[in-house]
């Protein structure tokens, strides 16, 4: 058997596995923004969530610790008094930058607080979509123990 054929077989096995594990279901792709969650950089995520490069703003509050002892559980919150329709939390140096995004319908406050994993010390970004534009705040969080070792 030649090498190329071998590779192809391996590839199709992996794809098949992903499909059976439910990683590539159609229903999910429609609701969950797969492309944005797979993007590597902060700018790419903002683009894929529908908007231009984010601009820094003092109106966005990012709550995160200076030092996280355990990278597996880092409390991060984002909040703004502006009329934001979407919020997002990103960790720059994670394998995929986007950690979570939130949709804020009328009647909800532009607020979200959750806990994320961080593989290493990194800048954390809070994004808020106001009038169709992304505004952001960032903070460096030092991680003493990574969240991906298990």
């Amino acid at each position: 058997m030649n090498v190329q054929r071998r590779r192809l077989l391996q590839m199709s096995a992996i794809v098949g596995l992903m499909a059976s594990a439910g990683l590539m279901t159609q229903a999910e792709a429609a609701a969950w923004n797969k492309a944005a969650f797979e993007a590597k950089s902060v700018d790419d995520v903002a683009k894929l969530l529908g908007g231009a490069t984010p601009t820094k703003s003092d109106a966005i509050t990012l709550r995160a610790p200076d030092i996280a002892e355990n990278g597996a559980v880092v409390p991060v919150g984002v909040e703004t008094n502006l009329k934001a329709t979407e919020l997002a939390i990103l960790v720059e140096k994670n394998p995929n930058a986007l950690a979570a995004m939130f949709v804020i319908p009328a009647g909800a406050e532009a607020f979200a607080s959750t806990r994320v994993k961080m593989g290493q010390t990194s800048n954390v970004f809070a994004l808020a979509k106001v009038d169709g534009k992304w505004l952001m705040a960032s903070k460096e969080v030092k991680v003493t123990l990574g969240g991906c070792g298990g």
């Binding site: 279901t25 597996a72 979570a100 939130f102 949709v103 319908p105 991906c148």
Partner: protein, 104 residues
């Protein structure tokens, strides 16, 4: 069937504070087992909170959200004391779970 969520919703000065603790492994897909094989990703991908049939809050999570995800959000206007809030999550294996609580 997945384990139940813990939801606490309290109203104060017209703002409903909702805290949800979900029970889920949130496997990233980056980790390997003892034999060196990748552990497939398994995580909650979408979450929706409803009062009646109205969506009052929604979120999309990635595998970078911590194991047993915690989420806090605030409602102002779309819910009041005595309402029932229902939170539903769906994971990337299309498993789903809904839990409800009364806003106190």
């Amino acid at each position: 069937m997945a384990d139940p969520m813990r939801i606490r919703a309290t109203e104060k000065d017209g703002v409903v504070d909702v805290r949800v603790l979900m029970k889920h492994d949130m496997e990233t897909g980056q980790r390997k087992d003892a034999a060196g094989a990748s552990i497939p990703a398994w995580f909650i991908s979408t979450l929706e909170a409803k009062v009646g049939d109205k969506i009052v809050y929604a979120a999309q999570l990635g595998p970078a959200v911590s194991k047993d995800p915690y989420l806090q959000f605030k409602l102002k206007g779309s819910a009041k004391k005595g309402d029932t809030i229902a939170v539903t999550w769906v994971d990337n294996k299309n498993e789903t779970r809904t839990d409800k609580t009364e806003i106190k």
